[in-house]
């Protein structure tokens, strides 16, 4: 069975192949990439961990929800886990639909829901050797045992 998670580099071309078809004229792709954080010392990589069984189940439910809202859209998504270097993608979403509005809306819906529903956590690995769990509110949480 196809998995929504991978430890390999994400391939946009592969996702596009999963959603494209001649009747779907508009395709929107979103890539989330590991940023070189602007606050504090430079982030060299982020370590992504997850509750993997739930990630699979929740992505299935999320795409089913999107399919009900945009029945003509076809959506593919892949979340990378493990240590991801700065500049590489952690998530890729492709949504193809007959018209561009649906493609944009479905793609945006999926990334917003990912942030809300998909149980994945990030730990920033910094140049100076420190590690910080990323709080989704944007404020890094000091690691108590570090």
């Amino acid at each position: 069975m196809m998995s929504y998670v991978t430890r390999d580099r994400l391939s946009v071309e592969r996702l596009l192949a999963e959603v494209s078809a001649p009747e779907r004229g508009g395709t929107c792709v979103f890539l989330g990439t590991v940023r070189n954080g602007s606050e504090g010392p430079g982030v060299t990589a982020i370590e992504y961990s997850a509750y993997e069984e739930m990630v699979e189940a929740e992505f299935g439910r999320l795409l089913a929800d999107a399919g009900r809202r945009w029945p003509e859209a076809r959506i593919a998504v892949r979340h990378r886990l493990g240590v991801i270097p700065s500049g590489e993608a952690s998530i890729a979403i492709a949504a193809a639909a007959p018209h561009r509005a649906e493609a944009f809306e479905a793609c945006r819906f999926v990334i917003e829901e990912v942030k809300r529903r998909i149980p994945v956590w990030k730990k920033e690995l910094r140049v100076d050797g420190t590690e910080t769990w990323v709080d989704p509110s944007g404020h890094p949480t000091a690691r108590p045992h570090a």
Partner: protein
């Protein structure tokens, strides 16, 4: 129809919560009927380091997010989830 008796619940901890408690998994027993909130309280009673967890963490039962007043049954897997930061 409410189950009675004692339920054994597998509790899983992730990311920062696993670090705080020093383990990724625990099993707790609760008297039925019981809620996820009861499981959290029982964990905090039985595992001292679990007191570092928030009293009302995000939780899932059997791979699905639930509120803390959701019922648990024997054999359920309860997961305590730090604030989600996917994507």
């Amino acid at each position: 129809m409410t189950a009675t008796g004692t339920a054994t619940i597998r509790v899983r901890l992730f990311a920062r919560y696993a670090e705080l408690v020093g383990r990724a998994e625990a099993a707790v027993s609760v008297s039925l009927p019981a809620t996820v909130g009861d499981v959290v309280r029982r964990l905090r009673d039985e595992v001292p380091a679990a007191r570092a967890l928030p009293e009302r963490p995000l939780a899932a039962v059997n791979l699905r997010q639930v509120k803390l007043d959701a019922r648990v049954e024997d054999g359920d897997e309860v997961a305590l989830l730090p604030p989600i930061a996917g994507g």
